[in-house]
């Protein structure tokens, strides 16, 4: 194993799940450490300085959201939350507390690896930001504030443009509705979910090929939105 291989910490109480998560990540070329409790996870996170943390929300000794808040006090390593479906509230709490993404159980190996790769990649290229984004038929030049689709300029309202910028800046990452509202409309609008819905709809109609089956501006139902380049 390489010296500079990314370090991943898996905090999960179910041994069999840890086993295949470890196997999959090791195939990705990661060094994997495990913890089966929150307390153990925090200690490991302090010692190993992981590049990525995989966290099960339902641990025997406490709530995973507390773990995230604790960790965010001194580390900004990306956190991938593992959670069951129908726990949308938990997911939102975890994301609002500072988690970066979530995976719904049960999940396959390919999905797990893709998410882990995406988070590790984002972690490694933080500074080299380019003002140019390209997805599908769309090209966005943030430095010139120009959006084109198939070479034709697309007219966006200031709010639509701001929303697009926020989504682009966190490409691949789930953004909760509250987060987006705070970033785009300001802290006093965090409950006006219907505004967000309307404007994401506008973006889809202007930039997606099939707005009813969006490829880039994806809905994470009950949680928020994700921009997938």
């Amino acid at each position: 194993m390489k010296e500079n291989a990314p370090v991943v910490l898996v905090v999960e109480d179910e041994k069999q799940i840890r086993r295949f998560v470890r196997a999959s990540l090791e195939e990705e070329g990661c060094r994997v450490f495990e913890a089966d409790t929150l307390a153990g996870g925090l200690v490991e996170a302090g010692e190993r300085k992981p590049d990525l943390i995989m966290l099960d929300l339902g641990l025997p000794d406490g709530n995973g959201v507390d773990f995230i808040r604790d960790l965010r006090g001194w580390s900004d390593a990306p956190i991938l939350v593992l959670s069951a479906r129908s726990n949308e509230k938990d997911k939102v709490q975890a994301l609002d507390a500072g988690a970066d993404d979530y995976l719904t159980k049960p999940f396959g190996v390919a999905e797990l690896r893709a998410r882990a790769r995406a988070l590790l990649r984002r972690q490694s290229r933080t500074e080299a930001a380019s003002p140019l984004f390209e997805f599908g038929e769309v090209r966005v030049d943030l430095s010139r504030r120009v959006v084109t689709r198939n070479g034709e300029p697309v007219r966006l309202t200031p709010i639509e443009y701001r929303l697009l910028c926020v989504l682009l800046a966190s490409a691949g990452k789930v953004l909760t509705q509250r987060h987006l509202l705070r970033e785009v409309w300001g802290p006093s609008s965090v409950e006006s979910y219907h505004y967000l819905r309307i404007y994401v709809g506008h973006l889809r109609h202007k930039l997606e090929i099939d707005p009813a089956q969006p490829r880039h501006f994806q809905t994470e139902t009950g949680v928020g939105y994700r921009f997938q380049p």
């Binding site: 295949f20 195939e27 999940f107 819905r197 009813a212 809905t219 009950g222």
Partner: protein, 523 residues
Amino acid sequence: MKKLPEHGEVTPSALRDRKRYLLAALACAATTLATTPLFGLLDPANIVMLFLLTVLLVAVLLGLRPALLAAFLSVGLFDFFFVPPRFTFVVNDGQYLVTFAVMLVVAIITGRLAAGLRSRADESALAARHARALSEMARELSGALTLEQVAEITDRFLGAILQAKGDIVLYDRDGQPRPAVDHRTPHLVVEPRMAAIAFERGETVECSVLAESGCAAVYLPLKAPMRVRGVIAVAPAQSFTERLSAQRPHLETMASLVAIAIERIHYVDVAQRTQLQIVSERLRSSILSALSHDLRTPLAALVGLADSLACSRPPLGDAQRESAEAICEQAERLSGLVENLLDMARLHAGNVTLHKEWQAIEEVIGSSIKLLGRALAEHPVKVRLADDLPLIEFDAVLIERVFCNLLENAAKYSPAGSAIEIEVSLREERMEVRVADGGPGFSVAEAGTEALFEMFVRGESESALPGVGLGLAICRAIVEAHDGTIAAGNRLQGGACVTFTLPLGKPPLIEEEILPEQEEEAK
């Protein structure tokens, strides 16, 4: 004057009156007899006094009318036995006519006064008894814990003051009447229209005509602080009908006491039920979440382990890899089934909390299609949306389940390559969503029936296709929780089609932004 009704006394008043007149006559006769031996010793003036005393006593003891009888009798007897010539009604001395007149007038006046006094004393005694009965009832009602007790206490009170009978009719929030005490034979016939009028107006309704036919004659609304809870119907005993109006204030006080007691019992009941519900709710949700954790965790491990086995390195032989993939697929299917079962359990428990938000239906269609991913790989999904669909209020997570279930069914029951169509339109204050496939459709017997939406019912019985008939049952539970409707049928051109509707409601206003260019143009 009417004699007081003693509790439990049943003698008709006519008989009592006759007895009193008899007593008055006897009293006069006795006075005559007692005075006769004293005839020589006493002045006629003193004998008159004795007769006047008799009249006074009769008035005090027996009331006004016997006293009047006694007054006339006294004059007659005095004339007959004591005025010379004795034993005739002939009067020699004209002065006696003055005596008679004065005697009669004095007798009548004293008799009236005494009787008036007596009747006032009686009335106040009666009032005191009624007040006692009321306070007694108030005290008993304050300790009553059930409606049965309230009815019993009311019966006792009505019996005590009016020898009346009463029945309590309660009305629920929708204005439907029901007897306060089940399994009790009603005391009397309650005229429902009168009761309804009393309930709706909140006023006492009285109809003495009804009393003749054995119906309740007075209908008192039970006005409690929160709302009118019902009506108490009262039928007085035959001989007391005319006293009803005098008793109205007492009856009304009684009605408000009963109303407060009923409301108190109602809220105690509500509090207890809520308590119970909270406890059972908590138990149920903790069982469900424990169960779902215990079921999901091994399934998640199974899916992951099988999947990691299938793509392990060095690669497995084809047969082994296929087995591993099959395990993975089966585990995923089992996991889907468990999710459906848990959903159904949660929905069936009744109190699903909807996290309703205003949103576009388009969005949840997109997320459902993305979520199903591989399952829809062989079926292109065509989405047709009406123009300008408004936002609609729903729980996105649950409606996503509806779409997932419908799309999954459509994919399962239609041949590979055939398209699945989703169509959304507006119809009469509702949004109508149709999910149609190009499969064989529902059988003729099943199309359009409710049975399809029952749990564990499948389109084709004994089919080789996997799945339990939970999908449509879940869809129905979710749609109905949104006040929507759902129906299944076949399209004319073939293929199954499930249609559900959601109420439109009034979406919040959105201020539209103007494009910067338009702004410039406006300038």
